[in-house]
């Protein structure tokens, strides 16, 4: 995944000819944004800036990976905001319990997210609650639990060294660890989606749940696992964010729900499920990150930034909506 994102100009035409037109559109938009940005300031094309953007994009990328799997099923996960926060807070909290706590901080944070994801999955797959409702409900419950835990203030526990290193360190010279992690998560997602029974089943269910069921696929188990993965990745994103900021914060995940969905959909994944490639999600994540960055660099006031951000997303979705839906 890293080579597709680090060297845009030369590599695209060869493999994008086969790619989904939506993915192509997303990459063209990225290029346009960069051109537009460079007119404003030449530093937009500097390697430092691009690398920094990639690093910022990694957090969204990890969260959007889980979201993509759920959207491919034809479902949605709205519990992202507080699963991100819960993952971050629980990891930091665990780190306060001695060396064992520090060692287990990251797995513990991720496991909290998996647990919330399992609740979502049981609700959707076994209780047949619409995912929009159950994930919104678990988001509220997670929020409540976190507020009780922190007393409503920013938690005092700080992120352990390992988390900071994951988010800000350099294992390979020149490549931030966060980017490396996104590359690993992305490669795993590509493998999962294209080379495993689970991945095939996800696409099958998103296309025609009834046909998948009649083929003998255990559709409920697949849905359950997908939500667990989404919860785990959201929480992992939270862990990385806490490492980046050195501590967890209230509502630190709020800024990730809409961008995660938008990134997946802008990358050509059908919001109705069944269709989409991870490459598209990569493009969507970078596109959203660049857009946010350029708007803030241009010192647009916050209100104007939100309006433009929203309008651009709606405009792009309308653009994709014109493409034949083939359903």
């Amino acid at each position: 995944m890293t080579d597709t994102t680090s060297d845009p100009a030369r590599r695209f035409p060869s493999f994008l000819r086969r790619a989904d037109p939506a993915v192509l559109t997303a990459f063209v938009c990225i290029a346009l944004l960069l051109v537009f940005g460079s007119l404003y300031s030449t530093s937009f094309l500097s390697p430092e800036y691009l690398l920094q953007q990639l690093k910022v994009a990694s957090f969204l990328g990890v969260i959007a990976t889980g979201m993509m799997i759920v959207i491919l099923l034809g479902q949605i996960d709205l519990s992202v905001p507080w699963v991100v926060s819960a993952g971050a807070m629980m990891a930091c909290a665990a780190a306060a319990y001695g060396t064992a706590g520090v060692a287990l901080a990251i797995p513990f944070g991720v496991l909290c997210g998996v647990a919330i994801g399992l609740v979502n999955g049981i609700g959707v797959a076994y209780l047949r609650i619409p995912s929009m409702i159950i994930t919104l409900a678990t988001n509220a419950v997670a929020q409540g639990l976190m507020v009780v835990y922190t007393g409503g203030f920013s938690p005092q526990d700080s992120a352990p060294e390992a988390m900071r290193w994951l988010a800000t360190g350099f294992l390979l010279p020149g490549v931030p660890n966060a980017v490396l992690i996104w590359a690993i998560v992305g490669a795993a997602a590509v493998f999962l989606l294209t080379r495993t029974t689970f991945g095939r089943s996800v696409y099958a269910i998103g296309n025609r749940e009834r046909a998948a069921y009649l083929s003998g696929i255990d559709t409920r188990r697949v849905v359950l696992i997908a939500f667990a993965i989404s919860g785990g990745l959201s929480a992992f994103g939270g862990v990385l964010l806490a490492g980046y900021a050195s501590k967890a914060a209230q509502s630190m995940g709020d800024a990730y729900l809409l961008p995660a969905i938008a990134a997946v959909v802008l990358g050509g994944t059908s919001i109705l499920g069944g269709r989409g490639s991870y490459l598209g999600t990569v493009a969507g994540v970078i596109l959203i990150t660049l857009l946010q960055s350029i708007l803030s660099v241009m010192q647009m006031p916050e209100a104007g930034r939100q309006v433009i951000y929203g309008v651009v997303i709606v405009a792009m979705l309308l653009l994709y909506g014109r493409a034949p839906a083939s359903r």
Binding site: R195, T197, R200, R208, R210, A211, L214, G274, S326, R327
Partner: protein, 518 residues
């Protein structure tokens, strides 16, 4: 205007009406004359064109050619609403009521009485009451919610809804199939009264005794053509069956096999039941046998296949595989090694395939556990199996990675069958597998089924095409009203026997003689 027919009472007539769906002729040059104050029954086996005919009259589909005359003026209905406005109301078998609205809301749904632009609820209630009264269902409270009513009461509401539009022609399509016996006699009384009031009724039913009781005139359709119209009672049951028999082409079927008499049954069902759609079904099937399910459409054949495959919840009775009782709780359980079932579903587009996905992916779905030993797909095994299947069934595809939706209907159906053959199933259930595919592919499928049977598979085959049942099956179970009414074996599987048992009438002594002789 100057219709040559001497029947001057006919105020509605169809002349030379045809309708095609794609290449399939649903109805061709059909004529029909409807007389005021009479009940006109329409008869025909599956696919004879009855439902298309009704849909044309009711404005649901537009005919390709021909014309319709109402009171001597040519009319065409662009929508069901236009047909309604012209005085034609239709009661379909599938209910069209909104469960969460009241009975009165439903009855007046298309044209509620208004005052100042708002619905006048009092007037609506009065009008609904009057309509219910007219339908002989005054016991139904107009303010009750439809979802609280049992099925038979809902059907009565449906009738009241049609009557509230004050139609001149009332069409009833299998409208009595959900009713209790008491309701049926009430409805009949209502229908007879409506006839006296001068309404014309078109009555479609497969229940011959109902037609005998009600109809003044009968029209028989066969293969989309109008065969004959005769006054009710002027023909015997045998003559009616004779008129319904007869197709234009015969498929070429492979020779039937022989089943070793001592072979033990691979599948046995005892007293299967499911809600009121399946009742007390028992049968067994041995390896190498092709057993057909016959009968008119919608007599429980689909439900039986779904029940065997573990799709239906709340099924009663016992299923035995190789003599041991099994519990089939889901398709995943049905396809598992100890049972080895496969189901070729009814609708390949929504139940059999994921159209936007590739041929490869579609072929692999039922056998993912075979090609992905630890959940990771082994492309080598997958490619090998896919190549084998594409060759075995001669699936015409440029390569396995194009979307299955790009293939022809026949090749799509081959993909559905192939995906199950990849597992090497022992019991194969097929739900009308040749519908909507070309003749060449049909013949390939017949040969494939026979070959699979010869290799030891047990095949249960539902078809709406009697020709196929006659040509392919060693035995045919004819279902009527959710239960097996007749079992036809070998030479006893004939057109005449199939139609007679599908209509649940005794065809007399002609059964064994009319088969392929000596």
């Amino acid at each position: 205007m100057a219709a040559p027919s001497a029947d001057t009472a006919a105020f509605f007539r169809m002349e030379g009406v045809s309708k095609r769906y794609g290449g399939v002729r649903a109805i061709e040059k059909a004529d029909l004359a409807v007389t005021a104050g009479s009940i006109h029954a329409i008869l025909g086996e599956n696919g004879a064109g009855k439902s298309t005919l009704i849909k044309i009259i009711a404005g649901v589909v537009a005919p390709d050619e021909g014309r319709m005359l109402l009171d001597g003026r040519e009319v065409s209905f662009a929508s069901p609403g236009a047909a309604n406005a012209a005085g034609i109301a239709c009661i379909f078998q599938e209910l069209s009521l909104v469960p969460d609205l009241s009975v009165a809301d439903n009855i007046m749904i298309s044209d509620p009485p208004r005052r100042f632009g708002l619905i006048d609820r009092n007037a609506q209630r009065r009008m609904a009451e009057a309509a219910l009264e007219r339908a002989g269902a005054a016991d139904i409270h107009p303010m009750a919610l439809v979802k609280d009513l049992p099925l038979s009461r809902r059907q009565m509401v449906e009738i009241a809804k049609a009557l509230a539009r004050k139609p001149r022609i009332l069409i009833l399509d299998e409208a009595t199939s959900a009713l209790t016996a008491a309701d049926v006699s009430k409805v009949f009384a209502v229908l007879k009264r409506l006839r006296q009031e001068g309404m014309a009724l078109l009555y479609i039913s497969h229940r011959m005794h109902e037609i005998a009781e009600l109809a003044d005139e009968c029209s028989v359709f066969r293969n989309g053509r109008h065969v004959a119209t005769y006054p009710a009672g002027s023909k015997s049951d045998n003559e009616v069956i004779e008129m319904m028999i007869g197709r234009e082409y015969r498929h070429i079927f492979p020779p039937k096999g022989t089943v070793a008499a001592e072979a033990k049954p691979v599948l046995e069902c005892r007293r299967l039941g499911w809600t009121d759609r399946l009742r007390d079904i028992s049968f067994s099937i041995r390896p190498g046998e092709v057993v057909g399910l016959g009968g008119l459409d919608g007599q429980g054949q689909r439900e039986l296949l779904l029940a065997l495959f573990g799709v239906l919840r709340g099924m009663t009775g016992e299923i035995r595989v190789d003599g041991a009782p099994v519990r089939v709780s889901s398709p995943a359980a049905a396809r598992a090694d100890g049972i080895g079932m496969a189901l070729i579903p009814e609708d390949r587009k929504t139940e059999g395939l994921m159209l936007p996905m590739s041929v490869r992916e579609n072929l692999s779905f039922a056998a993912l556990d075979r090609i992905a030993p630890h959940g990771i797909i082994n492309r080598g095994i997958e490619d090998g199996k896919i190549e084998e299947m594409v060759r075995l069934l001669s699936i015409k595809t440029a390569n396995p990675d194009i979307p299955v939706g790009a293939l022809s209907g026949g090749n799509q159906q081959k993909v559905v069958i192939a995906k199950w053959l990849m597992r090497g199933p022992r019991i194969i259930l097929l739900n009308d597998p040749t519908r909507g595919i070309d003749v060449g592919t049909k013949q390939e499928i017949y040969q494939l089924l026979r070959r699979l049977a010869d290799e030891g598979a047990a095949i249960i085959f539902y078809s709406t095409d009697y020709d196929e049942l006659i040509g392919c099956c060693d035995r045919v179970l004819v279902l009527y009203d959710g239960t097996v009414k007749t079992e036809l074996v070998g030479e006893g599987i004939t057109d005449r026997a199939l139609i007679a048992s599908a209509l649940n009438i005794n065809a007399g002594d002609g059964v064994p003689a009319s088969g392929a002789a000596a």
